[in-house]
Amino acid sequence: MTLALDTAEQAAVPAPRSRVWGKLLRNRSALIGGTVVIAFALIAFLGPLVMAADPIKTSWSLVRKAPSWLNWFGTDDLGRDVFARVVYGARASLLAGIVSVTIAVSIGGPLGLIAGYFGGWIDAIISRCTEAMLACPFLILAIALGSVLGASLTNAMIAIGIAAAPIFTRLTRAQTLAVKTEDYVEGARAIGLPDRWILAKYIVPNIFAPILVQATLIIAQAIIAEASLSFLGLGQQPPAPSWGSMLNTGKNFLQQGQWWMSMFPGVGIFLTVLGFNLLGDGLRDALDPRET
């Protein structure tokens, strides 16, 4: 029994953190992605504290002014400072990405764990429901849920979170199925440990890495989804700034050559998503035991 417990304890320990960190720091993609993400996180959460410009203050004398020393990114159709709105919009976008993925992991993760670990009819029900949800394209599902919940940033985050949850259910289930046949799980079961203990102590730590990688990549998709919903008018509501709604407003003035209203928020979305994609790819390489 002690031997079984020892085996379980030793084998359940995931890859050493220092090795993963070393691989991560050597990975150029992860480094660039991580730097971009940290930079945007700092802009999003510290920027509003240090900058003086008000993102919702309108000024009729400053309507649609091109970028200048006074207004670095120009002003919009209501004379608001585009730079201030881009900085505040970063907060909405990052928050939406992180909160919606947290919702998705919180719903999808436990369901996948239960389905994979217990199997049988519970697995059949959860798997069929997951397939049904996955049968609907992500954005269409988010739009449909957004229309049910109503237009707001909070509801957009909930809609995206629910729409993304089946991705994590499927991944967690597959990972749990692979891990539950390992000797250390068998050992833990043999010594009579309760299921919830086995799940928390032996399964979750060993399936954490792929879920973390997937979560990073889904944050990128969630940021695009939030911007899409805001672009369509189903996300952040005016006058609060959001990159998606800024792009929607800005596109109406492209014909007049007033590019700055849409260009800067667009570049913001692109760089943030690029950062998360690079970080996700780097994490996948660093956490993959096959990579040397």
């Binding site: 429901c129 269409i140 739009i143 449909a144 596109k251 492209l254 692109f270 994609n277 690079l278």
Partner: protein, 314 residues
Amino acid sequence: MLSFIGRRILIAIPTIILVSIFVFTLQKLLPGDPILVLAGEERDPAVIELLREKYRLNDPLPLQYLAWAGQALQGNLGMSLRTGVPVLQLIKDKLPVTLQLAAMAMSFALLIGIPAGVMAAVRKGSAWDYGATALALWGLSIPNFFLGILLIFLISVQLNWLPASGYVPPSESLSQNLKTMIMPAFVLGNALAASMMRHTRSAMLGVLKQDYVRTARAKGLLEPRVILKHALRNALIPVVTIGTLLFGELLAGAVLTEQIFTIPGFGKLIVDAVFNRDYAVVQGVVLCTAIGYIGLNLLADVLYVVLNPRLRAR
């Protein structure tokens, strides 16, 4: 083979039933009472009760679902609350526009993604590889509505080469139709091209290590023949199936592309329906998209077996 297809169809049926339950539940969760809209401004309680009876809204939910599903099976997805036109008719009118857009986007994706993926794999570690990988990352990171805006600004506003928005049916003028669709199709196909490039590169890298490729080279075949006839043919098997699945994603991507370029397709239909609170249309579009997506999944599975001689022989 037939039994395999039959088995896959049988597996798809419960998924479609669950999707229909989900779509039905979604309608029940929607805010507001559609009967109040139908009852007019007087909102006479007797009329409301009559309408409730007519639409079986007083029945228990499972019975309501069965009645709705029965109607849906016969092709009756209800009427648009706003226009009074049957939902199926609306979908039939708009779908060809989106299918043309999606087909053109897929063509772009194949024309760009597959050659770029092959070059990246064949010259792994070269400037070609890094360039193609960087392009793929760009394609996956740029939202199509931002790319659309960029192209409108550059190509339509600055260079005046193509119209910024609008749609001309091909029956009216094919050249004008292509002029209005080429930019949206490129925008929609951009992310797909990036995915195709990544999958092709990965599949080619796997295939190029195989013994039969080494044998082909040892036989003295020219490198282009080895790449195109021996490697690419085998590498394309997973790419074709993934491409089929990604075609479904194009329907979702079309929502935003059609919005930017003001194309009256399937995507614009759902967005307009959401804003007009035209729930029957939202429900119909979600159901049809999901069924289409399940169909594409089925097709991908079948194609995988059809294209793979080892699986086909079983």
